[in-house]
């Protein structure tokens, strides 16, 4: 047995070695995006269009692992946390440089983190709020904390904690930080694997290889393998797919799930479904009355549970996601750290749904209106299927289609009864989605109006809990409490559908959504 293991290991090593030697360097990978980036500043902006490519330009002290479960070393080769949890010490790698060849120092780190944690520095400053001061000396960066913060390693691996060159940024034209950020973001210089070399807004963007990038490839030489990445902006799904099939692109994002099966059988395309943190649900207004004063049946927990049980997730996964989705068992995705695998979700059970509704004040059924995004084929497919499913309970679902900005405005004013919603994490920690979905103090629990003193207490404890085991049990309790209260309709998790040319290797879209081109190569 032992020998067999040894032989297997040797074989595996030989195979991986053979693979390592086979990596091809050079070339340009052309990647089709559905829309262009907006503003390449990591601090003042958090649109997915930007942050999903930003880590290619700016590096962070730590990096999210590709499975989305933890962090790995980045610009800092190691870190340690003091016993009382109130001091974090990071050691920078030696010889770090920005893409212009200038040295990346501990002072740049201090300046970048100080800029990112200013309370007026965008929505994300709160992820670094536990830091009371940053000191830099030699290659050591020390973070002094107000309270122990178990989320800090993940926060330091998040886009807004990117390290920027202080000198270049402050030398950019502009009277204040916002103006300098605008100027700097036109031609940003970071220490990521690539550097922006050309950008024609709305048309294309070219990222050139950063010759000073610290990370080594499988061949022992510095990454990235590619000479450049070119993003082509192609808003139409069909055009993106046609261009890929014609060989004009080597990668295309956001393939409609309805086309996945067809592309899987295409000989030229490697249709990949990257695991994501995306959860799709229907948010319900839990308040006793709606904005116009009418009585809201969704305020009754039995009604909310009944609707959840009456939702046939497996059928929806077939109809809406063409079999690519996965039943949602917790409000957070199964790829989120501390997701509790023992969560049951709401398995389809029409009899139970009927008895729950019969026990509620609305046993004769009711009308309910859901806000959908106009033009979204997925929303329509989902909601027409739900009309039928809930019709069996006597619940009459009305669909109101609105454009995204109007839908958001109505939602923010709590002027809705139900709405379709999707979420992806931006940080490898469950605290982000929990603070939005389950805490009233943030945005009224995604505007559902749901409130739970118990969850509030558990969450506050978990934010300072340094034992992973204890934190996991706190999160198990939060997920169970939330499931039972059912402020939302649990639907499904969906992957990131990316179509790649057959010769593309090593490209990853991590569960947070970041597109990682550092290890991508074009094989012959």
């Amino acid at each position: 047995m032992k020998r067999l293991t040894r032989v297997t290991l040797t074989l595996a090593a030989a195979l991986s070695c053979g693979q390592a030697l086979a990596v091809t360097r050079g070339g340009q990978l052309v990647y089709g995006r559905y829309a262009d980036s907006l503003f390449l500043d990591p601090v003042l902006n958090d649109a997915n269009l930007d942050i999903w490519i930003l880590t290619n330009l700016y590096d962070t002290l730590l990096q999210p692992t590709t499975d989305g479960k933890g962090v790995q070393p980045g610009l800092a080769s190691r870190y340690s946390v003091s016993k009382d949890g109130k001091v974090m010490t990071l050691t920078l790698r030696s010889g770090l440089k920005f893409a212009d060849g200038s040295a990346l120092t501990a002072q740049d780190v201090k300046w970048s983190l100080d800029r990112a944690r200013r309370p007026d520095a965008g929505a994300w400053s709160s992820s670094l709020a536990s830091i009371s001061s940053v000191t830099a000396s030699g290659s050591t960066v020390t973070l002094n904390l107000k309270t122990p913060d178990p989320t800090l390693p993940a926060a330091l691996a998040t886009f807004n904690a990117a390290i920027m060159p202080q000198k270049l940024f402050t030398a950019a034209p502009g009277k204040n930080d916002a103006e300098k950020a605008k100027a700097f973001a036109e031609k940003p210089v970071g220490s990521g694997p690539f550097v922006l070399s050309e950008w024609k807004r709305g048309s294309y963007m070219v990222l050139k290889r950063n010759p000073y990038y610290w990370k080594k490839g499988e061949d022992g030489k510095a990454l990235p393998y590619l000479d450049s990445v070119r993003f082509e902006i192609i808003p139409d799904d069909n055009t993106r797919i046609l261009k890929l099939q014609a060989g004009e692109l080597q990668g295309a994002e956001f393939i409609p799930l309805s086309r996945v099966a067809e592309l899987r059988s295409s000989p030229r395309v490697n249709m990949t479904l990257f695991p994501s943190t995306k959860v799709n649900s229907i948010l319900m207004n839990n308040r006793p009355t709606l904005n116009d004063g009418t009585v809201n049946p969704l305020s009754d927990v039995k009604v909310r549970q009944a609707l959840n049980y009456a939702t046939n997730k497996q059928a929806l996964i077939q109809v809406v996601t063409y079999g690519t989705g996965k039943e949602m068992k917790s409000y957070m995705s199964s790829t989120t750290p501390l997701f509790d695998a023992s969560q049951k979700g709401y398995p389809y059970d029409l009899a139970r749904a009927k008895s729950l509704l019969a026990a509620s004040k609305f046993k004769n059924g009711f009308d309910v209106t859901v806000l959908a995004t106009s033009g979204s084929a997925d929303d329509l497919a989902l909601l027409t299927a739900l009309q039928q499913m809930w019709g069996a309970l006597g619940v009459r679902l009305k669909i109101e289609q609105l454009d995204a900005a109007t839908k958001t405005a109505r939602y923010r004013a709590n002027d809705f009864q139900m709405r379709t919603a999707a979420w992806t994490n931006d940080i490898n920690d469950p605290s982000q989605i929990t603070s939005y979905y389950a805490l009233f103090s943030n945005i009224e629990s995604v505007h559902t109006g749901f409130k739970s003193a118990e969850i509030d207490k558990l969450f506050a404890q978990s934010q300072q809990e340094t034992s992973r085991v204890k934190r996991a049990s706190q999160y198990r309790a939060i997920q169970s409490l939330y499931l039972n209260a059912a402020p939302i309709i649990y639907l499904y998790e969906t992957p990131y559908p990316v179509a790649l040319a057959k010769n593309v290797r090593g490209f990853v879209q991590i569960p947070l959504g970041n597109n990682i081109f550092a290890g991508a190569s074009l094989e012959k």
Binding site: L38, D236, N238, K243
Partner: protein, 316 residues
């Protein structure tokens, strides 16, 4: 008409554009603000807290009363400043400067292809009127007219682009030849649509002219048929077509919105769509003003060409 009168007329028409311009400005300014949803909602998305929305509105000056905002908009405009895009953080004027030439190129290209198709086919249909040739030409264009632009676009793209590989699938290319090559399919899409409109009018005006007495007279005089067609028939038959073409330039720019999306062309059409969905007020305002100016200028040009083709027209 004397040359002096001509330039006097042009000047008068240009001056008339100014009140139109002011009206468009006010209407657009108010309309975008009447749309439900606001820039802060659009940029910040579903996750924004009330504090952040309020701060963003303050930074954008959207917390000011409407008259103040309008006064500031006009004041900036007088200095040639259309403001910065809210989502892209760059001057609107620069965005328009980058994108407008693309759309204009496409529009002119489409108009040229449309005319190239429409004029010979309409003449052919008129000359062979009520034969199978006429029926075929009219039938094909009638079908073409009833097909939606995005459908035609997709079919052309799939057949001539993906299947046969004759043309690139979308994009703008570089250099004039590159643009001509890359924009052929989108220009053809728009051109076909335009040709369908023009063929009907042009055919009936050619028939009308062909049967006119002065043409009969020319024929009786023994003039060569080709000469009759170019000098007498087409010149007169084109007059209503020019007006129609001018009126359709606006529609062409409108059609570019869909075509630019399908063919991934970085023009103003797509910019406008993105700006509306993103409630990017300065971009919407800037683009609408630009469209208003273009359409006014095209109408002026149409009238001038009309006058040139038909000396009976009085420019006053």
């Amino acid at each position: 008409m004397r040359r002096g009168m001509h330039s006097h007329y042009v000047l008068k028409r240009l001056l008339q554009i100014i009140p139109t311009f002011l009206a468009v400005m006010l209407v657009v300014f108010l309309l975008v603000r009447l749309l439900p949803g606001d820039p802060a909602s659009a940029i910040l998305g579903d996750r924004a807290t009330a504090d952040i929305v309020e701060r963003t509105n303050r930074q954008l000056g959207l917390d000011q009363p409407l008259p103040t905002q309008f006064a500031l908009f006009v004041w900036n405009l007088l200095q040639g400043n259309l403001g910065d895009s809210i989502s892209l953080k760059v001057p609107v004027l620069r965005l328009i400067g980058e994108r407008l030439p693309v759309t204009l190129f496409l529009t002119v290209y489409a108009a040229a292809l449309g005319l190239l198709l429409a004029v010979p086919l309409a003449v052919l249909a008129a000359v062979r009127r009520n034969t199978w040739v006429d029926a075929l030409i009219r039938g094909v264009f009638q079908v073409g007219l009833s097909l939606p632009v995005f459908y035609v676009a997709l079919q052309l793209l799939t057949l001539l682009g993906a299947r046969l590989g004759w043309f690139p699938i979308g994009g703008y290319g570089s250099g004039t030849l590159g643009h001509l090559y890359h924009l052929f399919l989108p220009a053809l899409t728009l051109g076909l649509n335009l040709a369908a409109v023009l063929v009907r009018t042009l055919r009936s005006s050619v028939i009308e002219v062909i049967t006119a007495e002065y043409v009969e007279f020319a024929r009786a005089k023994g003039l060569r048929p080709r000469l009759i067609m170019t000098r007498h028939v087409l010149r007169n038959a084109l007059i209503p077509t020019v007006t129609l073409l001018g009126l359709n330039i606006g529609a062409l720019i409108g059609g570019a919105v869909i075509t630019e999306t399908v063919f991934a062309i970085p023009g103003v059409g797509r910019l406008m769509v993105d700006a509306i969905f993103g409630r990017d007020y300065p971009v919407i305002q800037g683009l609408t003003l630009t469209f208003a100016v273009i359409v006014s200028l095209v109408f002026l040009l149409t009238d001038l060409i009309h006058a040139r083709l038909d000396p009976r027209t009085e420019l006053s």
